[in-house]
């Protein structure tokens, strides 16, 4: 009986954790994959794996990076499983148009389309920094890169993104 109650408490805590984190996890998976259906699959599979492995999460404060690491692994697995075909970028943008559109804000929609065009090596660290609030050191640890390499990717990513958005880049420093 005691174990049953303990199990219920544990389940409730895990549910609450998933409930809190899911929107950001789904956003991260979406920007990683640029495919909402795939992102939903990846997040679902991530939560199921996390449920199975929840005993390895010793500190709830570390839950977000823990989930993100699982998401990245799951996303890589989905590539191995399906050997995803190369998709034309315009086709990709058109397919995800409902997600990219921003009510009454064409500029935001254009920025989202520009993010789609940014190569993954720049898009992923940018999303980790801007959306997930990761520090350079945390991004470096997650992506298994040096701090200097992360800084270079963030710098180049912003330069490219600003150019894609038609921002004035005349004062940007040269690489």
């Amino acid at each position: 009986m005691k174990d049953h109650i303990g199990g219920n408490v544990k389940r409730a805590r895990f549910q609450a954790l998933c409930q809190t984190l899911r929107p950001d996890l789904l956003r991260f998976a979406f920007w990683l994959s640029r495919d909402l259906a795939l992102a939903e699959d990846v997040v679902q599979e991530t939560m199921l794996r996390a449920w199975k492995a929840q005993d390895s999460l010793l500190n709830e404060a570390a839950a977000k990076p823990w989930f993100l690491t699982i998401i990245r692994r799951e996303y890589a697995r989905s590539f191995e499983r399906k050997r995803l075909a190369t998709v034309d970028l315009d086709e990709l943008i058109a397919r995800e148009e409902p997600m990219l559109a921003a009510a009454q804000d064409q500029e935001l929609a254009e920025l989202r389309a520009a993010l789609f065009k940014l190569p993954e090596e720049y898009r992923e660290p940018l999303v980790l920094q801007v959306l997930m609030g990761y520090t350079t050191a945390e991004i470096a640890a997650e992506l298994k890169l040096s701090n200097a390499a992360v800084l270079t990717r963030l710098f180049r990513g912003r330069i490219k993104l600003r150019a894609l958005c038609g921002e004035d880049t005349s004062l940007d420093p040269e690489e």
Binding site: R11, F14, Q15, C18, Q19, T20, R22, P23, L26, R27, F30, W31, L36, A37, L38, A39, E40, D41, V43, Q44, E45, M47, L48, W51, K52, M99, L100, A102, A103, Q104, D105, Q106, E107, L108, L111, R112, L115, L126, V127, Q129, V130, L131, T136, L151, T152, L154, F155, R158, I159, L161, R162, C165, E167, D168, L171, D172, P173, E174
Partner: protein, 234 residues
């Protein structure tokens, strides 16, 4: 001493870096101050762009994953509850507060403690877009900018008070039915209805921020606003 190229390279990698060397360069370089302001504005938009609305999860999952394995049945309840968790994004007042807080991320420089007031002509220009002016009762305005918020230009002001800088956003296109306090991501604030003119959001940041004091300042700012044009009627 850092030069402009080094400074810009550094902030293009970490726009919110709190390095004293960067701050020292910024203080003495007008060109880089303008560059930083434009970059931080872009960053605010970028964060909003990344914050796409997330659809609620379905119990049957996405395209490929099915609840095939035995242990998954127990986890299914997790997914169903998670669906409810996504619904907060659809709650309009919560979302308005969330959007205000997200906007703050793009303009950290606005929060500086200072005793330098915005020139009256600059302030008047920012406020004229919302068909308003501000009487002296509001306090000293140290920052005034016309910001894009939910696709429209709105006045974003910072008023210096005894408890530090307080941000005021005049949201003439966003109505709320009643006063709505919020405490989110380190910001304490309140969204106050302004009949016929949408609402105003007033917020402070940090642990020392006192919601009651913020509400008093909101009332003070509201009574100092003089509307010079027709309301939105919303």
């Amino acid at each position: 001493m850092m030069n402009c190229a080094q400074y810009r390279r550094a902030i293009l990698a970490e726009p919110h870096a709190a390095d004293p060397e960067l701050a020292a360069h910024l203080q003495g370089c007008r060109d880089c101050a303008g560059f930083t302001e434009r970059l931080l504005r872009f960053e605010g938009r970028l964060e909003l762009a990344m914050r796409v609305d997330t659809p609620a999860a379905s119990a049957s999952g996405g395209r490929a994953a099915g609840l095939r394995r035995g242990w998954l049945a127990m986890a299914a309840s997790v997914l169903i509850l998670v669906a409810a968790g996504s619904l907060w994004l659809a709650a309009p007042n919560r979302s308005l507060a969330a959007d205000v807080v997200a906007h703050m991320a793009g303009e950290p420089q606005a929060w500086a403690r200072t005793d330098i007031a915005v020139p009256p002509a600059d302030l008047a220009e920012v406020l004229s877009g919302a068909h308003m002016r501000l009487g002296p009762g509001a306090g000293m305005v140290s920052y005034a900018s016309s910001c894009t918020f939910r696709g429209r230009l709105v006045p974003h002001l910072v008023v210096q008070t005894a408890m530090g800088p307080i941000t005021v956003m005049v949201l003439v296109h966003d109505s709320v039915s009643k006063q709505a306090p919020f405490d989110k991501e380190g910001y304490h604030g309140v969204i106050v209805p302004v009949p016929g003119h949408g609402s105003i959001a007033v917020l402070a940041r940090g642990q020392e921020a006192d919601l009651r004091a913020v509400e008093e300042i909101a009332a003070r700012v509201q009574s100092a606003i003089v509307w010079t044009g027709a309301g939105t009627g919303s």
